[in-house]
């Protein structure tokens, strides 16, 4: 393992400290328990809190700021945060309109956020009200009501952006949750890995993969996906990702959509733009109009080489909230 780290146990706090220092105009870092908030507490709005295991940077701390999150709770690498973090964050950022947790659908994240929600304290004589949006856009996983279900991956960024925008208008908790759920249902992602990632504390790659192999449908923690396959041309790989998404969303012809090409951490922009080119053309062939785009490392898996394709079917409400101003470390426009 070759990484820019000192002691394995200090990686998280050193990295968070660097993040907070580099973006001290936007965020504040709180340690023990660990959470990050906006520099300026927002008032009179639903507080939007997300969190999850670290290693997916800029998710989630990079999305704290005007128009997006109020706080983020970073767990250890690939390990969901613990309820005390969410409690402390909620107490710090809630502004009497309730707290919305945006949680990627993993057993660990779901349970830790759930326990936090159950433990939310009474403030000003009122229990801090909360609701939760579970993101589950990874269509590599076959869905079922009897199982843990689909994993939340890069589509989470779209949910956080748009729900954050709606909260900024003063909308109530229930409306924010409804928008989040709607976007989640209209969003599907599918990823592919060319290499494994290496968790610092483990010190070696999470999975072995041959020089001529790829992992189709991989998760953002290096979880095995749909299948191990032979390395192929970008067009063929993208076709498979796009097909999985089309099978899931079944968009009607002429649908308008946002296309997100997300790098997993070690894949350069040059390749991500090439994937964008291929994916956009394939979706166009299926009558989909791509009117919004995002290409880059937005939901990563440490140093994994690979990428995911995310399609979000737009409507006027989602478009409005995607386009609205946002001012965070990792997404910034219109302000």
């Amino acid at each position: 393992m070759k990484k820019f780290i000192n002691k394995v146990d200090d990686v998280l706090v050193e990295s968070l400290s660097g993040f907070a220092a580099a973006h001290s105009d936007i965020v504040s870092l709180h340690l023990n328990p660990n959470f990050l908030t906006r520099k300026q507490k927002a008032l009179n709005k639903v507080a939007i809190i997300s969190g999850g295991g670290s290693g997916h940077e800029p998710l989630h701390a990079g999305y704290i700021g005007y128009g997006m999150l109020d706080a983020a709770c970073p767990g250890h690498v690939f390990t969901s945060p613990t309820p005390d973090q969410m409690l402390a964050a909620a107490e710090s950022v809630h502004a009497n309109k309730g707290v919305l947790f945006i949680v990627k659908n993993y057993a660990g994240d779901v349970m830790n956020f759930e326990m936090a929600a159950e433990m939310l304290p009474i403030v000003n004589g009122l229990h801090i009200e909360s609701a939760t949006v579970l993101t589950s856009d990874d269509c590599a996983v076959i869905n079922s009501t009897y199982t843990t279900g689909r994993r939340g991956v890069a589509g989470t960024v779209i949910v956080e952006k748009c729900v954050g925008s709606l909260a900024e208008t003063g909308a109530d908790l229930q409306s924010c949750k409804l928008l989040g759920d709607k976007i989640n249902q209209r969003t599907a992602s599918m990823g592919v890995a060319l290499t494994s990632c290496t968790v610092p504390a483990a010190g070696r790659p999470t999975f072995d993969i041959g020089d001529n192999e790829l992992e189709m449908g991989v998760g953002i923690h290096g979880e095995p996906g749909r299948k191990r396959a032979q390395m192929d041309e970008a067009d063929a790989i993208t076709q498979e990702l796009v097909n999985a998404i089309l099978d899931t969303l079944k968009p009607v012809p002429n649908s308008e959509a946002l296309l997100l090409i997300n790098g997993f951490g070690a894949t350069p922009l040059m390749e991500l733009y090439l994937l964008y080119n291929t994916a956009a053309n394939l979706f166009k062939q299926h009558g989909i109009r791509i009117t919004r785009s995002l290409v880059g490392n937005y939901t990563t898996a440490l140093d994994m080489a690979g990428a995911s394709v995310t399609l979000c079917l737009l409507d006027d409400e989602i478009k409005q909230h995607w386009d609205s101003p946002v001012h965070t470390a990792a997404l910034r426009w219109g302000k």
Binding site: P83, Y106, A107, M115, G222, P224
Partner: protein
């Protein structure tokens, strides 16, 4: 069990986890995200560090404190589940106020039940519950039949082992491996393995005490 026996067991568990690093880690690397060993180690170390402040507490108070510590230390799926287990045990011990095998069987069952509720899972879903539920059931049976400690310890270690092995040929429907479908078959569930190891360790420790 007195608090000091509980604490000795937890020291033993810590040692066992460390001894089985590569085994636990490879299981979670195969069908999870590779952090289960790190999570368990972090939790066990935190408890070892609490040793002195726990020593003077009653068993139920100690177990409750351990549960809270695990809740804020482990994270992931195993964190809230194991925390719930200890808090569930503590609740029954506190209510009953005695340290008989029957009470511990009841407490164990109560801990497992909280895991089941929190994880919305049951036997056959390729999780730690494939170890814990059979062990809880066997424990109740034997305690109700007034079996001696030796019999109980041996039986529970065997039941845990069998439960752990049973996860090998299951498809996962809960937890991270639920995404894998058929590909999960042939691998033991990491959480089942670590629970089996913990149960085995405690049983061995109690057997030695006999």
């Amino acid at each position: 069990m007195t608090t000091s026996v509980i604490l000795q067991s937890l020291l033993d568990i810590h040692a066992t986890i460390l001894q089985h690093e590569s085994e636990i880690e490879s299981l979670d690397r195969a069908i999870g995200d590779g952090d289960h060993y790190i999570n368990m180690k972090r939790g066990a170390s935190a408890i070892v560090e609490m040793h002195d402040e726990l020593a003077d507490l009653t068993p139920d108070a100690a177990l409750n404190k351990i549960g809270l510590k695990l809740l804020s230390t482990i994270g992931g799926a195993s964190g809230p589940l194991l925390a719930s287990f200890f808090m569930g045990m503590a609740k029954v011990l506190k209510e009953k106020g005695d340290t008989s095998a029957k009470t511990y069987a009841l407490a164990f069952a109560s801990g497992v039940d909280l895991i089941r509720q929190r994880g919305k899972a049951d036997v056959g879903e390729k999780t730690m519950l494939d170890v814990l539920i059979p062990v809880a059931n066997r424990f109740s049976e034997l305690a109700n039949a007034n079996a001696d400690n030796k019999t109980i310890c041996e039986a529970l270690a065997d039941t845990a082992e069998a439960g752990m092995r049973s996860t090998m040929n299951l498809i996962a429907t809960k937890g991270r491996a639920a995404g894998l479908g058929e590909r999960a078959i042939g691998h033991i569930d990491p959480g089942a393995k670590s629970c089996q190891l913990m149960i085995m360790t405690v049983c061995n420790a109690l057997l030695k005490h006999e």
